[in-house]
């Protein structure tokens, strides 16, 4: 970690724009948590654009510091590696999000349209623009290649029905960060009955995503 090295001019003494100031170590830990959650969750998670901005600032800061260091210094290569790692995690996080947006584009847009004003948004403004362009692009393409040559009553396709929804019943591995009580597990088959579990702190489980979706959003569990 950048903080592991004692040189203060190589690590970013970053003040985030949020009200809570974070050390770089905390920032990167949060990025990694968001990355893992996004990777293993079947649906698009909440948007974390402040986190992305802070990490980008941190990266530019570290690159600038690296330029100032004397060439050939051993510490420089360690920091270079660090920058590469953080950049990989950030890229992978953003790629996961983009892939999910592309896969579920009508549902993602519908969700964004129908959310209440106070609710947190799932898409950053740029992601929203990207999703809209993707929808428009695909619709124009389908219309020009096939739909406009079809009989009049068949010239449109309902994207919400045509594109499959994310499968919220897929199983995910999770680690519990805060103890949870009385989680209701719904039955999967007709023979089972619903039951209630308590999740202890630090324990790991394999459960259906639908059961613990709100806990992932609140940070009480971490997907692994």
């Amino acid at each position: 970690m950048a903080d592991g090295v004692s040189d203060s001019d190589l690590s970013g003494g970053e003040e985030s724009r949020e009200e809570v100031t974070m050390t770089p170590a905390e920032l990167i830990a949060r990025l990694e948590q968001a990355w893992l959650n996004e990777k293993f969750s079947p649906e698009l998670m909440e948007n974390k654009s402040e986190l992305v901005e802070c990490v980008m600032e941190q990266l530019t800061h570290m690159e600038e510091n690296l330029q100032r260091v004397r060439k050939g210094d051993v510490k420089a290569s360690v920091h270079r590696m660090e920058i590469d790692r953080i950049r990989f995690v950030l890229s992978s996080y953003l790629r996961s999000r983009l892939q999910k947006i592309e896969r579920f584009f009508p549902h993602v847009l519908e969700k964004e349209k129908s959310r209440a004003d106070g609710d947190p948004s799932f898409l950053s403004p740029e992601e929203f623009a990207f999703a809209k362009e993707f929808l428009a692009n695909t619709e124009v393409y389908l219309r020009n290649v096939a739909l406009k040559h079809m009989p009049p009553n068949l010239q449109s396709i309902d994207m919400l029905k045509a594109v499959p929804e994310p499968c919220l019943d897929s199983f995910v591995f999770l680690r519990v960060k805060e103890r949870q009580e009385n989680i209701l597990v719904e039955p999967e088959t007709d023979e089972q009955r619903e039951y209630v579990v308590d999740l202890d702190k630090g324990s790991q489980h394999l459960m259906r995503y639908r059961t613990i979706a709100p806990l992932v959003a609140s940070g009480a569990v971490q997907l692994i």
Partner: protein, 250 residues
């Protein structure tokens, strides 16, 4: 001499046959082989099992099968002919339905309704198959942007129709705009860094002449075919994916 018997054939017409043939044909009728009947009137001959039945929507399903056969995300040539045939079938079905709907309305022939419904579901199936074919191709084309970068190899471009090329260009533009906007300043190229970094510098061999290549500290390397270099990994990623450099693992 076998006994003569009278029976009704499939079309409920009395015919004279021998008992032996009658028994055989009963068995065949049970199995479902129409063609073995002793006599099929000319006007029903097209229903004989020796003729190939063509169902509706077969061409549409063939399009899907063609894509299914090419695994691994390969993009086959755009089957313009196939799409055209399916669209023609749809036009024919729709026109037949129009006539029948008019007839049913004006002359009250409600017995036409089942065939109208049948043709309508064929139309829906054709529409769905075409949409699936086109959309699956789009997904493969999208993957090409992430694999090959902004410029596609000419062999792949030949397999795309003009509208697919247009979709690809729009997609590239959207992606570039999005990447530029990340983090609020210069943005981030997320098509790089596809693998976690293992080491800082890697040994690469040059597969083709690529000319001069500048690395961060200002030194210029000449990438000549078969030359080997020890270069920073992040600089080489794109060139490795394009096939210009090859990672040498000794």
């Amino acid at each position: 001499m076998s006994l003569l018997t009278l029976r009704r054939n499939f079309f409920n017409v009395h015919v004279i046959t021998t008992t032996k043939i009658y028994r055989e044909n009963c068995l065949r009728w049970y199995i479902g082989d129409l063609a073995s009947y002793d006599f099929i009137p000319k006007k029903y001959r097209h229903l004989s099992a020796t003729n190939k039945f063509t169902m509706f929507c077969e061409k549409a399903v063939e399009l899907i099968r063609e894509l299914h056969r090419m695994g691994d995300g390969q993009l086959p040539a755009f089957n313009e002919d196939g799409i055209r045939q399916v669209l023609e079938e749809m036009k024919a079905l729709y026109e037949q339905n129009q006539t029948d709907v008019n007839e049913a309305k004006t002359e009250g022939k409600s017995e036409l309704i089942p065939s109208i419904k049948f043709r309508h579901s064929c139309l829906l199936r054709n529409q769905r198959c075409i949409a699936a074919y086109l959309y699956d191709r789009l997904l493969r084309i999208r993957a090409l942007r992430w694999e090959y970068g902004s410029v596609l190899p000419t062999t792949i471009r030949f397999h795309m129709c003009a509208e697919e090329m247009e979709w690809f260009n729009q997609y590239k533009k959207s992606l570039a705009t999005y990447m530029r906007s990340i983090g609020g300043e210069e943005g981030l190229d997320i098509t790089q860094d596809m693998k976690p970094p293992k080491s800082l510098y890697i040994e690469v061999r040059c597969l083709k002449d690529h000319g001069e290549f500048e690395i961060d500290d200002g030194t210029v390397i000449l990438l000549k075919k078969n030359s080997q270099h020890f270069l920073p990994r992040w600089k080489c990623e794109q060139l490795i994916r394009q096939g210009v450099l090859e990672h040498v693992i000794s």
